[in-house]
């Protein structure tokens, strides 16, 4: 009897499953891809998925070195070095930007390596989408790590062109021109292959044409820029938002925004990790207890956007008023670029303040369109004054929160960043026309954008009121106003050989050796190749000066 028990037990134990075949639950493998229908589409979407991680640092490396932002303190975050032009070879933000860019490039290479053109409409569409995404990646890489196209593009180094599906391939850097040529060729090919328009959150023939238009304006091929801008504008697929619903650029569902040509889709709740604390918008504003709110709209941007009180683009600025204060202040900037203020009282159109016991008025000048601009004379110098209720400040920097990167579908810092939208295409056409000498056509497009922004007719540009400005000047000024925080400004300045003016309050001026201005010839306008990447490449990659 007892023996029986024992044998039963032994048999039972030995009979338990003894398999060593284990396959992952959280990932597809090469085998499962072969055996799964629709796996290619899942891989294709994988590249779009990675765009969501890519876009965070894309924003930080493109926008922070511009002049639309003012940081209010120091931070352990390496974005501080992007903002201050104090470049660092170990900047983790730059390294992450590099890594995610190439992750997408390799993802597109893997798909492009599997498909041949002309096999089916669906595979042509996937090829086209991947060519577009790869081009988009290279377009920003060449501009972040390589000097502008107008500076010796056949000599200056950009980034390595990885085009094959081989992770073991380590290539040296290509020149700026080589990278641009590759992008142009790929986009032209994609333009032909697209056969389906899904929506503005996927690559399309229009997004490829929009990027081509931008590429041509960057490379100085103005005629082509004009041609491609026209292709998109005249496609009839897109229309500008009205002034009244302008804020939908940020708060709307991206594919419902008729202006979007390509935007990176973030889904409410789902694409909203850590309560939004590590999003792009979280640095710009503290909303409903979420967000650092440490980087504010720059004073130069504020003065521009507040020139016409009707300008709807000011709706993306939310001044943080101290304890619901009802005390007005005239905020001005001192000679060492710090904020200062005097309390003022409103009397009709005037603001009065007290200086050394005497009552004084702010100087008042017309904006030419029925509103006033105010000035204060301090230390014998007339300074622009912006009148607001008493504002909160951080280390003396006024909290003009930027909300253009927040608030999609009511979620504090959800944002689907637009990569191309119709307003940019009008401004590309304007720039091309300005450069081709077609001033009237250029101003028409600029005024189209200004009118949409709510600026009254008296505030529009005419050949007569340009004064000392050129048509290009006003196009670029309009781009700054319209396309702020969409990753354009730094490139717009340097690719046109302009000097970046950063003489405004912000901690970029409180570092040991600050840059008050940045010349287009300066070596700091390109980022260092991340040191870690040079090491991993076994020094096949070389460093920028």
């Amino acid at each position: 009897m007892k023996k029986k028990i024992i044998y039963t037990l032994i048999c039972g134990v030995l009979a338990t499953s003894c398999s060593l075949d284990k396959t992952p639950y959280t990932a597809l493998t090469n085998e499962s891809i072969k055996n799964t229908q629709g796996a290619l589409e899942v891989l294709n979407l994988g590249n779009y998925h990675t765009l969501k991680s890519w876009v965070e640092n894309w924003h930080r490396v493109t926008e922070y070195p511009g002049d639309n932002v003012a940081l209010s303190g120091t931070t352990t975050d390496n974005l501080f070095y992007n903002y201050t032009y104090q470049r660092l070879v170990t900047n983790s933000r730059v390294n992450d930007y590099w890594s995610n860019s190439y992750k997408i490039i390799a993802g597109t290479n893997a798909i492009l390596g599997q498909l041949k053109e002309g096999e089916s409409t669906s595979s042509d569409q996937i090829i086209a989408e991947n060519l577009y995404l790869r081009s988009l990646m290279y377009f920003y890489l060449v501009n972040v790590f390589g000097k502008p196209y107008n500076q010796n593009p056949a000599q200056n180094l950009a980034v390595p062109l990885q085009l094959s599906d081989d992770p073991f391939e380590v290539l040296p850097r290509n020149t700026v021109k080589e990278v641009y040529d590759q992008i142009e060729g790929d986009l032209l090919k994609a333009e032909k292959l697209f056969n389906q328009y899904k929506s503005s959150i996927y690559g399309s023939v229009y997004s490829a044409q929009a990027l081509l238009a931008r590429l041509y304006i960057y490379t100085g091929n103005n005629q082509k820029a004009l041609e491609y801008a026209n292709k998109v504008i005249s496609s009839g697929k897109f229309s500008l938002l009205t002034a009244a619903n302008y804020t939908q650029i940020a708060t709307g569902v991206p594919e419902n925004n008729p202006e979007n040509i390509f935007a990176i889709r973030f889904v409410k709740d789902v694409d909203y990790a850590s309560n939004g604390w590590y999003t792009i918008g979280s640095l710009y504003a503290s909303i409903s207890g979420s967000g650092w709110g440490e980087m504010y709209a720059s004073r130069t941007y504020l003065e521009e956007v507040r020139k016409y009180p009707e300008d709807v683009r000011y709706k993306f600025i939310a001044p943080k008023i101290l304890n619901n204060s009802t005390q007005l202040q005239a905020y001005y900037v001192t000679d060492d670029y710090k904020y200062a203020s005097v309390p003022v009282q409103k009397e009709g159109d005037d603001y009065t303040y007290t200086e050394s016991g005497a009552s004084k008025k702010l100087t008042r000048k017309s904006n030419g369109a029925g509103a006033w601009l105010y000035y204060i004379t301090i230390g014998g110098k007339e300074r622009s004054a912006l009148v607001d209720y008493t504002l909160e400040n951080r280390n003396g920097f006024l909290k003009y929160y930027i909300t253009k990167c927040s608030g999609q579908e009511g979620q504090a810092h959800l944002w689907s960043p637009p990569i191309s939208r119709l307003a940019e295409l009008y401004l590309i056409r304007a720039e091309a026309n300005a450069k081709l000498g077609n001033t009237a056509a250029a101003l028409t497009d600029v005024n189209l954008i200004r009118t949409r922004a709510g600026i009254p007719a008296a505030g529009l540009w005419t050949a007569d009121n340009l004064g000392t400005k050129t048509a290009l000047d006003v196009v670029l000024a309009e781009r700054k106003l319209e396309l702020a925080w969409e990753g354009h400004r730094k490139f717009d300045v340097f690719r046109n050989g302009y000097t970046l003016d950063r003489k405004y309050p912000g901690t970029h001026l409180s570092v040991t050796t600050p840059f008050y201005t940045v010349e287009p010839s300066s070596k700091v306008i390109v980022e260092f190749i991340p040191e870690q990447q040079i090491v991993l490449s076994k020094k096949i990659l070389t460093q920028n000066e």
């Binding site: 990932a27 493998t29 190439y102 992750k103 040991t512 991993l536």
Partner: protein
């Protein structure tokens, strides 16, 4: 003493001689196996009349009376006293209960210490119990040569990191394997230290080969208690309680005035915000003092042990509760264990075991990071005692992020519960006197649930109108081992062997949910108005093995052992799934040899072993290309490339040779010396691609690492058995030399701030080399090495400074010292641990010693000898400070690499065994009380909280092992 006794005896003999009648007795003294015991002393009790046995063990003694009582003794044997009723007498001497006779659990089997040929160290229950911790890993520190135990965190319930004989793997685990009552555990086990009978640490391949692929980093074998003696059961109660004090070490932060003075040294005072005026001095808040405490701890356990002729029984229960020395964290654990051995028949025994633990944590812990960085100029409370919320605005706040962590902390919390149950259905069947069958069948179920709560009023809960996160994960581990054992003696030859089949598998699943929009006080996701996010994963692995081991002993002199294990692991591709591992070892008990008769030497053994063990990759699916499915785009599933395939990835193998020498003198002094050389080949490495590859990297077997070292330990009874004062002491020290011998194509592999490089230690720091302060201008300086000429120049430009090797993070030598003094029931013991030569990167200084780079963070007080550069102090350790400093002086460099050597009083303990009469009056078997102190003293040059925690834990906001004082009572009845 002895001399006196001899003199007295002589006098007795003298008188005796005159009056006694004489009788001659003859006899022979032999060992258990029949061998003669030569030179044993034979004395007539009560006289000085004595003789010695000859070469055949025979003696002849003229006794003074007809039925004399004699005493026969010899070193190493149990002394025998007997009345001689007839002559000749045959006497068999048993071995003395020296440590050579102690049984040591060697893994799947048990051997006498004197027969072990591998490098195995046993730690008994008594030696373990000095330090107070719920985790057994913490109790091993400083007690075993070559076993480096580091407490990475002082939070209650945290496990220590253990390294046995250095690190031999780049990307696979270096943690040892834990085995509890024969069952391989997943990770370190949840076990009540009071339940432990012994811990054996298996160090060399000869010992660990039986665990094959699992044993490459050493094995820690725990055996839990069972009743040994039959008779009435014993009930034991242990009660201890005490307090843990926050341990700040050398890390001191500035007060309000010091912070102000620091601001005055900034070289760019114009950049300081105008709002920072002398008004800041009105507040001087000590955030660290506010957030730390003397946390109470209590440990109550009871156990019952009993044995009848058929059944032995052990049951215990334990309740452990500890509050952190950082406020707001509570750790509770209940454990219960039952071990039963029941003889069903003379041949069949059932040995069921059940161990369960329930751990719960309540986490409202104060944020250490915030306590360190918050400015002394900010106070968390308003004048009327309310907690301020600077995020809401309208409050002057100097620290960064406008963050008063106390505000959210008053509402928000997280809780965790772990239920861990191990059940064994083990049995053995004795086939005959030679063969027996052992069956081990274990099911382990580990279930953890946790939740965290964000109140709608808190800053973090504001946007979602409050949220609740609930998470649950479980692991199920099955382990089966069926073993056939054999043992026989052929005269002087002893043979034992076993062959076994083993299978184990593991599966992990988890699921988590977050809901938003809650009524304050809710605890479950169901109460949330809406869904916010989800998670859930699963992974698994399996091992399948065949094991064979044979032991041969000859005449108590020679022992040989050979082991073989065939191991299969699911972590490899199909063609590389199985690995062969073997070991051979031998020991020679020289002291038992006829030719070796040195009286002073009671033990002289030589051990020699050689073997091979393996290691598996940490990735469970290492052979595949993995397209991660965690992503989605616009609500559609998306796959992203991650790990790249390598179907040929295979076992990492270590060849390990060990030479051991043991020497025992006068039964009082024991020396052990081990030399080892371990070569690990086919190093499993996760090779990271440059980011241009897109794929993250792949597993490959490349390169080799060598660990060689020396371990020495000595244990001494300094005052002998006859002294009223007993005094024993032990010392151990180990040195390990680690070197990477080869890497793929000879090319270095970067690993963060470290780097793997041929000819170097695996833990070599690689960063910019700090070259002090430029005395001319106070600028920071680093070395710039010309790549072609090797010429070293100094630069103040961080970007152009050269990355280079600057030190290692493993100690040159480390060990421990312990001593115990006893007098009339009082016992005082102490345990010191030391480590020398390791360098720790003190990353906290990037933030807290930042030369103005982080002006809104509190800063570290200067250590003796540190000073800041100024025009009048040009020979300084610290560069000139400026507001928002961007000269990168605080970026990673050897500036913050510090000597983490230490000598630490791990524990001191005073106990008193309550005298016999009182114990008897209370009908107790024994009773003792003690007072004990952990981590009371440390000597170290390290400027942080804890040099140990910096090496293995978080060096940014360290939670050092607390200083702890406890009182305890142990009673048995």
């Amino acid at each position: 003493m002895k001399v006196k006794f001899l003199l007295l005896s002589f006098m007795f003999l003298f008188f005796h001689e005159l009056m006694a009648q004489k009788t001659t007795i003859r006899g022979k003294v032999v060992e258990a196996n029949g061998d003669p015991v030569i030179g044993a002393s034979v004395v007539e009790i009560g006289t000085t009349n004595g003789t010695m046995t000859n070469a055949t063990g025979e003696f002849s003694l003229e006794a003074g009376k007809p039925r004399p009582r004699i005493r026969i003794s010899s070193i190493g044997y149990k002394t025998v006293e007997m009345e001689v009723t007839s002559s000749p007498v045959n006497v068999t001497l048993g071995y003395e209960d020296s440590h050579l006779d102690e049984l040591v659990v060697t893994g799947y089997s048990t051997q006498k210490q004197g027969e072990i040929s591998a490098s195995i160290v046993k730690v008994s229950q008594k030696e373990l119990k000095d330090v107070k911790s719920p985790n057994v890993s913490n109790l091993l520190q400083g007690k075993i040569a070559g076993v480096n135990v580091v407490n990475g965190s002082g939070r209650p319930g945290e496990n220590a990191t253990i390294r046995i004989r250095g690190r031999s793997s780049i990307s696979s685990s270096s943690d040892p394997l834990w085995v509890v009552d024969g069952v391989i555990a997943h990770g370190s086990p949840n076990i009540n230290p009071n339940d432990i009978e012994t811990v054996s640490v298996l160090k060399d391949a000869a010992a660990t080969t039986q665990y094959g692929s699992r044993g490459a980093n050493g094995v820690i074998v725990i055996t839990t208690r069972r009743a040994a003696n039959s008779g009435a059961g014993t009930f034991t109660v242990n009660i201890a309680s005490g307090a843990s004090h926050y341990n700040q070490g050398n890390f001191k932060l500035m007060n309000s005035q010091q912070m102000w003075d620091y601001y005055q040294t900034f070289t760019n005072p114009k950049s300081i915000p105008a709002a920072i005026t002398q008004d800041v001095l009105k507040t001087n808040y000590n955030w660290l003092a506010n957030g730390t405490q003397a946390g109470a701890y209590r440990d109550v356990s009871g156990s019952y042990m009993g044995k009848t002729d058929k059944t032995s029984f052990y049951a215990s229960g334990n309740y452990y509760k500890e509050e952190g020395s950082v406020k707001g964290y509570e750790y509770d654990r209940l454990t219960a264990r039952m071990n039963i051995d029941h003889k069903l028949t003379s041949k069949l025994s059932f040995k069921p075991k059940l161990n369960a633990s329930f751990t719960s944590t309540d986490n409202r812990q104060h944020s250490l990071y915030d306590m360190y960085l918050n400015m002394p100029w900010d106070a968390p409370y308003s004048a009327d005692g309310k907690i301020l919320n600077p995020q809401a605005g309208g409050i002057t706040w100097y620290g960064r992020d406008n963050r008063n962590y106390l505000y959210d902390q008053q509402f928000n919390y997280s809780k965790g519960q772990t239920f861990d149950i191990q059940s064994n259905f083990d049995f053995s069947y004795k086939i005959n006197n030679q063969f027996s069958l052992e069956s081990m069948n274990n099911l382990a179920y580990y279930n953890q649930t946790s939740m965290s709560y964000s109140d709608p009023q808190s800053n973090s809960g504001l946007a979602n109108k409050g949220s609740i996160y609930q998470f649950s994960n479980r692991r199920i581990v099955r382990f089966f081992n069926q073993m056939l054992k054999y043992g026989n003696s052929f005269g002087k030859h002893d043979v034992s062997a076993f062959v076994a089949y083993e299978y184990s598998d593991y599966v992990y699943t988890s699921v988590g949910l977050t809901g938003k929009g809650i009524a304050p006080g809710s605890q479950i996701v169901d109460n949330a108005a809406d869904f916010l996010s989800k998670e859930g994963t699963k992974n698994d692995y399996a091992f399948q093995s065949g094991i064979f081991q044979v032991n041969y002993g000859f005449h108590n002199r020679y022992n040989l052992q050979a082991s073989y294990r065939l191991d299969g692991s699911s972590r490899f591709g199909e063609s590389k799934r199985y690995g062969n591992f073997y070991a051979v070892s031998g020991a020679w008990n020289i002291h038992n040899e006829d030719f070796f008769k040195v009286k002073a030497v009671d033990n002289l053994r030589l051990r020699l072993s050689y073997g091979e063990v393996g290691n598996v990759p940490t990735g469970l699916y290492s052979s595949y290309s993995l397209y991660s499915l965690s992503g989605q785009y616009n609500g559609q599933p998306a796959a992203v490339p991650g790990q790249y395939q390598n179907p040929l990835v295979s076992w990492e193998k270590s060849k390990d040779a060990n030479l051991g020498l043991e020497l025992g003198l006068y039964n009082r002094l024991d020396f052990t010396l081990d030399l080892y050389n371990k070569n690990t080949d086919g190093l499993l490495t996760y090779i990271t691609f440059p980011s241009t590859a897109g794929w993250s990297g792949y597993y490959q077997n490349i390169g080799s690492v060598q660990n060689k070292g020396v371990e020495f330990s000595v244990n001494a009874s300094l005052l002998g058995k006859n002294s009223p004062v007993s005094w024993s002491a032990g010392f151990n020290i180990a040195h390990n030399k680690n070197q990477i011998n080869s890497l793929k194509d000879g090319v270095d592999i970067p690993a963060g701030n470290k780097r793997y490089s041929e000819g170097r230690n695996i833990d070599s720091w690689y960063m910019r080399k700090w070259a002090g302060v430029n005395p001319e201008n106070g600028a920071p300086q680093w070395e710039a090495v010309n790549a072609t000429t090797g010429e070293v120049t100094l630069t103040s430009n961080y970007n152009s400074a050269t990355l280079q090797f600057v030190g290692v993070s493993t100690p040159k030598f480390q060990g421990g010292f312990n001593t115990q003094v006893g007098f009339k029931g009082f016992t005082l013991s102490g345990n010191l641990a030391f480590s020398k030569g390791a360098y720790a990167y003190h990353s906290a200084r990037e933030l807290f010693d930042s030369d103005g780079a982080y002006p809104s963070y509190n800063q570290l007080m200067f250590k003796d000898g540190w000073s800041r550069w100024s025009a009048s102090n040009k020979d300084a350790t610290h560069p000139a400070a400026s507001y928002n400093n961007t000269n990168a002086s605080n970026k990673t460099s050897s500036r913050y690499l510090e000597d983490a050597s230490f000598l630490r009083l791990r524990n001191v303990n005073l106990s008193y065994d309550i005298a016999g009469s009182l114990v008897q009056r209370l009908k107790l078997k024994s009773a003792s009380v003690y007072v004990s102190g952990d981590n009371l003293w440390i000597a170290t040059p390290f400027s942080g909280m804890d040099p140990e925690a910096a090496l293995y834990g978080d060096a940014t906001s360290q939670y050092a092992s607390p200083k702890r004082v406890s009182f305890g009572l142990n009673v048995s009845f």
